[in-house]
Symmetry: C2
Subunit: 232 residues, 2 copies
DNA sequence: TGCTACCTGTGAGCGCACTCACAGTACCGC
DNA sequence: GCGGTACTGTGAGTGCGCTCACAGGTAGCA
């Protein structure tokens, strides 16, 4: 591994939620155990049921985490980008992959083996602390999603998801917050547990109340406050 | 704290998921930082929105974790008994309580402060490992629940919850697996995100297919395999 | 032994969101 | 530019699960 890609990786570690707070020594120790992999658009990183032996840190591109029903319907559990971590659960509890990870566009990721992660954890107490915080945050979100599924109607869940996307992948423009990743209504439907048609009608409702605007496959949130109000 | 209650606590730690694998020294170190508290039936341990400063280890009794919608409807996130842990999330990420904990019957619990937990984690690397495993397991379950809410109908979700209860709180009898905790249909409804009436109809369906039997407020699963099949 | 409170059981009606079907629109490759 | 493919938009019909309403049980207590 050349020096330039090494320093690129250190920078990536610094920008990630999980590794950001490690010392420089700890970071370069982690970096020494990582290997770069490339994935084409639509290529799978792993499948549901696989033995989970590695953790992935996305360097560039986007990855979707999804789980499939027996009839083939799909739930999009998450939508991840650069600096985010995939596949840590199986490393922690030894269970097989509970969902499938797939690159939605050309993607580069660094992988870390279970053994390497364990040795990094032993060596860097800060790492297990960061992992605990990350899991705690995600567990909260998951519990909230369960409650939302029970309490909110389709439009409410769509609104909530749009707020989430705007906060995590949005950039402000003069007309509103532009969500920086392309999303199809099919994908939105899989995220909120609804049908594509239902999502379409919810979006149409927001659009002609002036809350939202569609620009190709990108959406612009024009009134975040009203969108949030609809998601309560 | 007397020697007898101390050894009772050590035994409780040994039977808990989180502290079981600690060494004897580590266990007694943890035990030294815990205080016993008593709660009457229906008394709250904490409320949603509270500052979360303690972790609770249930010694006897039952505690429900629930979250409330703006309109007052309720989701039962979990139903916990002796040896189980409550309230660790707020200690890890510093956020306020995301749900309310309430004793459903007279309950005793040992509490551990955030500061004490942190010092225990620093002193016992095995503890942070156990925490990671526990959070990983719960995160999997939560993600699965999100998918279930999207894919399964009310009867399917009820079936799944009954299987869960049978596995975690059931004891085998000659007629089937008896669920050892009393549950009202209202509570079941809050667990699966449905109405009491809907749950009742699902249960009635199981009963007259011979899969389930009601004995007062206790249920007996007579055909676990068919119940599991209904929950797919 | 009844009174009371809470739980279970069930019918009727209604509405949200699903399915099905198809038209309109943007994007991509040749 | 033209054709194909994928995505968006929308109407009509249907059904699951909700609400409302009330009857029947059951357990605790005076």
């Amino acid at each position: 591994m050349g020096a330039s890609s090494q320093s690129e990786l250190i920078e990536l570690l610094a920008s990630s939620e999980l590794f950001a707070d490690l010392s420089d020594d700890e970071k370069s120790n982690v970096a020494d155990h990582m290997q770069k992999r490339r994935y084409r658009a639509n290529e799978a990183l792993f499948y549901e049921g696989d033995e989970g032996s590695h953790l992935y840190l996305i360097s560039s591109g986007r990855v979707s985490i999804s789980s499939r029903s027996p009839e083939g319907r799909e739930v999009l559990v998450a939508f991840l980008g650069p600096g985010e971590i995939i596949g840590e659960l199986s490393l922690l509890d030894g269970e097989p992959r509970s969902a499938e990870a797939r690159a939605v566009e050309a993607t580069e990721a660094y992988v870390l083996s279970a053994a390497a992660l364990n040795s990094c954890i032993d060596r860097s107490p800060g790492l297990s602390w960061a992992l605990l915080k990350m899991l705690a945050r995600r567990l909260r979100k998951a519990d909230e999603a369960v409650a939302d599924a029970a309490f909110l109607d389709v439009a409410g869940r769509v609104a909530k998801r749009l707020v989430d996307l705007a906060e995590n992948h949005g950039s402000p423009t003069e007309t509103g917050i532009r969500i920086g990743i392309p999303v199809t209504q099919e994908q939105l439907a899989a995220m909120v547990g609804a049908t594509r048609e239902g999502v379409n009608r919810a979006l149409a409702g927001f659009a002609n109340r002036g809350i939202l605007e569609r620009k190709g496959r990108f959406y612009v949130v024009k009134d975040l406050a009203r969108l949030e109000a609809r998601a309560t």
